[in-house]
Amino acid sequence: AQSVTQPDIHITVSEGASLELRCNYSYGATPYLFWYVQSPGQGLQLLLKYFSGDTLVQGIKGFEAEFKRSQSSFNLRKPSVHWSDAAEYFCAVVAFSGGYQKVTFGTGTKLQVIP
């Protein structure tokens, strides 16, 4: 069965600093990978996704993620964090079985941005 690990529960960064959120997955085949962001009390918004091809994926709001098969990782990055980026971030992996896709989410990383 697939699994996702987000080792950092909380991360605090200064506004303007760079950001990297870690995600490691376990899946027997080529994974489909996602990053979602959740603002307090809101639903989840898709930031970016990787299905195949270029391993560096660009997303919305200036985020990018790099798929590294050798490390089973899909880390999210942003070169300069804005205060509005404070939210919780979820990594997810998709498994396909019998025409149905099952998504497994990590437990999330809460990002705090300080002035």
Binding site: G43, K49, F105
Partner: protein, 112 residues
């Protein structure tokens, strides 16, 4: 464009009372529909999914049930709420050619 509506946004219910949360999708046909629960400090737990009208699959045995009476309508129900049913409930949809979920804005349920 496709939109997903989920209501109510907030709900406070006494233990033992019934529950009905509704989710509707617009702008697409035959979506896959999902109910997730997000408990405080925990990740997202898939509760139910549906690939078509009347087709419901349950991921976790629990006090809740789901129904899909129409193509773009997904309902989460309970006959008698438990304290442990408190949480943030999210509805989501995906297309048949899965490109990711689109989530609703969620319902904060507090059972008192």
């Amino acid at each position: 464009s496709q939109t997903i509506h989920q209501w109510p946004a907030t709900l406070v219910q006494p233990v033992g009372s019934p529950l009905s949360l509704e989710c509707t999708v617009e702008g697409t046909s035959n979506p896959n529909l999902y109910w997730y629960r997000q408990a405080a400090g925990r990740g997202l737990q898939l509760l139910f999914y549906s690939v078509g009208i009347g087709q419901i699959s349950s991921e976790v045995p629990q006090n809740l049930s789901a129904s899909r009476p129409q193509d773009r309508q997904f309902i989460l129900s309970s006959k008698k709420l438990l304290l442990s049913d408190s949480g943030f409930y999210l509805c989501a949809w995906s297309g048949q050619d899965f490109g990711g979920y689109t989530f609703g804005s969620g319902t904060r349920l507090t059972v008192v």
